[in-house]
Symmetry: C2
Subunit: 413 residues, 2 copies
């Protein structure tokens, strides 16, 4: 593969497709929303399928609506898959997920044009769901592929309007009783290109990232219960201020994450007090803590510190503590052979890359539970993501597509 190859890859078409897909689900208020099985989602899947066919791929959809576009290999056996998700967050941008589908289509176009039929079958994959933005069923599509969708999920999980996943599937002609048929055992490797969704590559001036780990995470929902008191008549030393307790816990969690250094993070994203009156000491404070680290031992250190700090602060301040872990997973390493293939490909291009953890979750972390998986990051301007401001200029996308093509060449030719 030489740079001349990239004459065969139509950068203009890639740009046009990014913009065109970004129009599907566009909101009048800015940004876009494609929720699993909604109209915009269905239109987007149809559009991508049409492009795949134009590119000469053989398409099919599985039991949960994942879309595959296939180039048959010369040999039988497991295939190499590349892609990302087609759904979006509410008021999201046109790169998160979608860019991984565009990049896979463009890379396969370039490979086939230059090298013909691959040895191994290559499939471009548009996964149906990753964000959990319509239904609280994050990674539904990838979980179906690895066989991790709970039997009760389709009937149990409903969107804010009360429509269950099962009902929404039937509206799209899908049969919830057949979800297990989406499971695959024939994937040799999964490679996902994605925007970084952070500002590290931009700040370092490095064009491409190679993800070595997808960060481990714990999310708590915490309730502190103190005593609602008059803000004028209750001396400071007689208070049991639930918000003051929450602030101490949050402050210490942040300080710990800062002291541990990158990539340790701890975030309080939601906070609410009762009774929420200017002149009343808060009696109840509900808040969330989201703590992440890409190293298993260090994640445990961070999580243990926060856990013990919550208990200590609540006890010292005489506050009731209820905490519930609502999300928990260890870091997920990407497969060393896939990482090596990506790193070698980028080195071949003469481009700098940064080996880095992903602070966000991705389809790859689910795929990695059964298949060798790896990820390529392209920069996000100002680190913006999950926002209409999400942007990566085409000049920063092209090296990512080239790195992906070279990686797929290594894995499939």
């Amino acid at each position: 593969l030489t740079s001349a190859t990239w004459g065969r890859f139509d950068v203009g078409q890639l740009s046009q497709r990014i913009d065109a897909l970004g129009e599907i689900g566009a909101l009048p208020t800015g940004g876009l929303f494609r929720g699993l099985y909604d109209d915009a989602w269905a239109a987007a899947v149809d559009q991508v399928e049409e492009w795949m066919r134009q590119d000469g791929l053989v398409t099919r959809r599985d039991a949960v609506g994942n879309l595959y576009g296939r180039v048959e290999g010369r040999e039988s056996g497991p295939c190499v898959v590349s892609g990302s998700h087609i759904d979006t967050v509410r008021s999201g941008g046109k790169y998160d997920g979608a860019l991984g589908i565009h990049a896979a289509m463009a890379a396969v176009n370039a490979l086939v044009a230059d090298h013909g039929k691959p040895r191994r079958t290559i499939e471009v994959l548009a996964t149906a769901e990753e964000e959990g933005s319509r239904f609280a069923c994050n990674f539904f599509a990838a979980r179906a592929i690895v066989g991790q969708v709970g039997a009760d999920e389709p009937e149990r999980i409903a969107d804010p309007q009360g429509v269950t996943i099962a009902q929404a599937m039937r509206q799209r002609g899908l049969d919830p009783s057949r979800i297990s048929e989406a499971r695959r055992d024939d994937i040799a490797a999964f490679v996902e290109l994605h925007i970084e969704q952070g500002a590290i590559l931009e700040a370092e001036g490095i064009p491409l990232g190679v993800v070595d780990t997808i960060t481990g995470q714990r999310v708590w929902h915490v309730r502190l219960t103190g005593r609602q008191d008059h803000a004028g008549t209750t001396p400071m030393d007689m208070r049991a201020d639930a918000l003051a307790g929450a602030m101490e816990i949050a402050g210490r969690a942040r300080e710990k994450a800062i002291a541990m250094g990158r990539p340790s993070v701890a975030t309080v994203g939601r906070i609410a007090v009762q009774p929420h009156q200017t002149n009343v000491v808060p009696g109840v404070c509900d808040f969330t803590i989201d703590a992440r680290h890409s190293d298993t031992v260090r994640r445990r250190e961070l999580v243990d510190y926060i856990e013990s700090t919550m208990k200590r602060v609540a006890a010292e301040r005489g506050l009731g503590l209820e905490s519930r872990v609502v999300q928990e997973h260890d870091p997920v390493p990407m497969h060393p052979l896939v990482c090596a293939a990506i790193e070698e490909s980028i080195a071949e291009m003469g481009v700098r890359s940064l080996v880095m953890p992903s602070g966000a979750g991705h389809d790859s972390e689910i795929m990695a539970s059964r298949f060798p998986a790896g990820m390529i990051f392209v920069p996000s301007r100002d680190g913006r993501s999950h926002s209409p401001d999400e942007f990566t200029p085409i000049e920063q996308i092209v090296p990512g597509v080239e790195a992906l093509a070279r990686t797929l060449f290594r894995l499939a030719y």
Copy 2:
């Protein structure tokens, strides 16, 4: 006045009246609500007027609906007034405000029974509004009496349903154009008995408080603006977390109040973040700070510290700061002669009292702008107030009524 006098004062009747008035405006969900000019308010005023007439007082209502019950004195000249407000907060208790009316009625009953006609005219006063709980017009009734109601208030201020004060007045047969007629210049002294609404008397085991000052206050509405970022992909050192800034400001304000000691207080009662998602660093944080001190110089010290801390923290963290002072007043001293009369009366009873500031606002702070005013506090169990849990046992009320009667005797006989 000897303790024998109290044979003439019907403690059972006082208890019954407290309970009966506490039923008017009772909510099915617990607690009560009497908003200015609503049905419960009107029923309560009618009930108190009936009791006043039973007690032999001559009643009248003024232009804003304040209810007076009068015992004519032997001499002409300014009169001595005692009472408190008849409105309540939402889901409030039956003591805040109401007890000052009950106590004044009981004290006047005892005085007239024992000593006949006073030298100076005594009036029991049920003020129409103090809490600002239906309309944001706190102290409306007392402000009418001292002539401080703004000409635009009746038409400008509306309740949550959009009904203006003027409309509500007309529904009760009151004419908003005549508010100025409620103004008085003939009050020799105003004495208000009130529950403490704090737990200092209870904690100290002292039965009665003599208020020397009503605390000074400043309330800010603050908005910090940082940058909304992904909670997983944005390193701690690249964040502009609006909530983290708010927490530092709140923490330092609290620490300062604690370091200054009683009666310095600083409270964050309301806080809200945007976008309020578990996995997003808050880009905007709105919160309130309520800071109080009963000493003018020390209040200024507290307020200046908080003001400069807000600016410093916002600058250090690269956050935008908008802060707005929504309430501000210097401490209001009670009149030394009225305080002395109260203290001497309590000393005469052989009961301990604590000279203390009031951390809450009261009708007396408005009355004090034109008339000599003073306050007697009775304990609040557990400091509970503005809550259905508000409670003062009758045994703790009786000494307060006796102190009030002795004070009125000093001032009017």
